[in-house]
Symmetry: C2
Subunit: 238 residues, 2 copies
DNA sequence: TATGTTTCCTTACGACCTCTAAGTAATCTA
DNA sequence: TAGATTACTTAGAGGTCGTAAGGAAACATA
């Protein structure tokens, strides 16, 4: 008799979560190729075509699941930041960077989907969950860097010293983030981002297995460098 | 009547090349998922199962084709090096790095297969063509760095200053390359490698599209930094 | 409460894929 | 010339994606 207004909604939501969990389980346990519409449906106990009531097709399923991973990664970074809300900015930046690698290495298969998977057309639309999640992800470190720049500006090159093509690109990026970082500072931020995130990509893609078995100290060394670049005090992890 | 001894062999070789070309065409024109046994067979004009006389299965086909890409990339780098055989080492190193990016950006789909594809078990065996090709690839810049180290050593940290875990890993790597670079120098080499190759990975995986439209100047800036690190004279590209 | 609509899920199906099996024809070897 | 090897064929089992058509349950509303 009560029949809450959103009963159907709640059930649908629960089913969606079950589907996400099933897809993730298949990905982690059996690899990317095992995440098929059929297998996921089987896992949640319904028969194939039923999944088309939740996703338009395989690409959309993958996109939605990947967006979920990205949100989880972002949340881990935000939590690391907020757990240290009363500590100096220096510590918060380092904690967020470490949280990023922590999540990535704890969930390599999921992280692989985040960045090493061709983004199908529907997930490229700006309003797609995939794209929204990417924006929020990029925002975490950007926001911290903006805060740093405002309270304690780090050394940044004069844009006039950059080659023309690069100057234009960082200017465009700077404008795209509403000028919260001027072009020179944006250039420094992007350089740091490339080093950190690039290292993580290579680690998860096993591109460094030929030389390293454990990249934690390498990552810490990068963090140390980056701290120096940004004028942050580097504090070793616990 | 002449029937040269290796007639069958030659035909087989030609067919293999045709298969490689067909697979590549499908990859470039229609993406990774289009490279199926059936589609490739169709492309070369034979019916499905015939391909199993050339490859044990889909994974082996992908591995063989990828090895071919890697050989082509390596050859491009070696050629850049040899074309400048009489120029100073500084120029040759830069040329090889630029050739690497040149090939990667000219053949993004192929480069994607080289590094952003799970390497199936059979292609991980040390004697597999995939693995052999990887060794030769890694050798190009390593050899140049060794030559540089011998003729004009660059600044390298004292391994004693590195954290224990990192020290052990670079020592192991140094031993693995027959000590041609001592641990400190190996550490510098690997750091440079990570920055260059990492940037390339991110570019090809579209991880930097949010900020850049053309990464050529960014790559050049990295080369400039690396040249400074290695004590090389940076000469702008033609 | 009764009726119509929406939602969820089913089975059936066509088209495609991988890979095995079995058979044929051509080529090489001895 | 006889046998072994190689290269291919078709047939087929079992898997996939995605569409179509239909039933049953839950909801909204008169």
């Amino acid at each position: 008799m009560p029949a809450p207004a959103g009963r159907r909604q709640r059930i649908r939501q629960a089913t969606l979560e079950e589907i996400h969990a099933a897809a993730r389980k298949l990905l982690v346990e059996q690899g990317s190729a095992a995440v098929t519409i059929s297998a996921v449906a089987r896992e949640v106990g319904m028969s194939g075509p039923a999944l088309y009531h939740y996703f338009a097709g395989h690409d959309e399923l993958v996109g939605a699941v990947t967006a979920g991973f990205l949100r989880e990664l972002t949340t881990a970074m935000e939590r690391a930041r907020d757990d240290l809300a009363d500590r100096p900015l220096d510590d918060r930046v380092l904690a967020v960077c470490r949280a990023m690698r922590g999540w990535a290495t704890a969930h390599p298969a999921e992280f692989g989907w985040i960045f090493a998977r061709p983004i199908a057309a529907p997930n490229r639309r700006p309003e797609s969950a995939r794209h929204q999640a990417a924006l929020r992800f990029e925002g975490v470190l950007l926001d911290l860097t903006v805060e740093l720049w405002r309270t304690r500006p780090f050394p940044a090159p004069d844009p006039a010293d950059l080659p023309a093509s690069l100057r234009e690109q960082v200017a465009a990026y700077s404008a795209g983030i509403d000028g919260r970082l001027p072009p020179g500072a944006a250039h420094v931020f992007l350089s740091c981002w490339i080093r950190l995130y690039g290292l993580l990509c290579m680690e998860v893609l096993h591109q460094l297995d030929f030389a390293y078995t454990d990249l934690e100290p390498v990552y810490e060394e990068h963090l140390h460098d980056l701290a120096a670049t940004l004028g942050l005090t580097y504090l070793a992890a616990d």
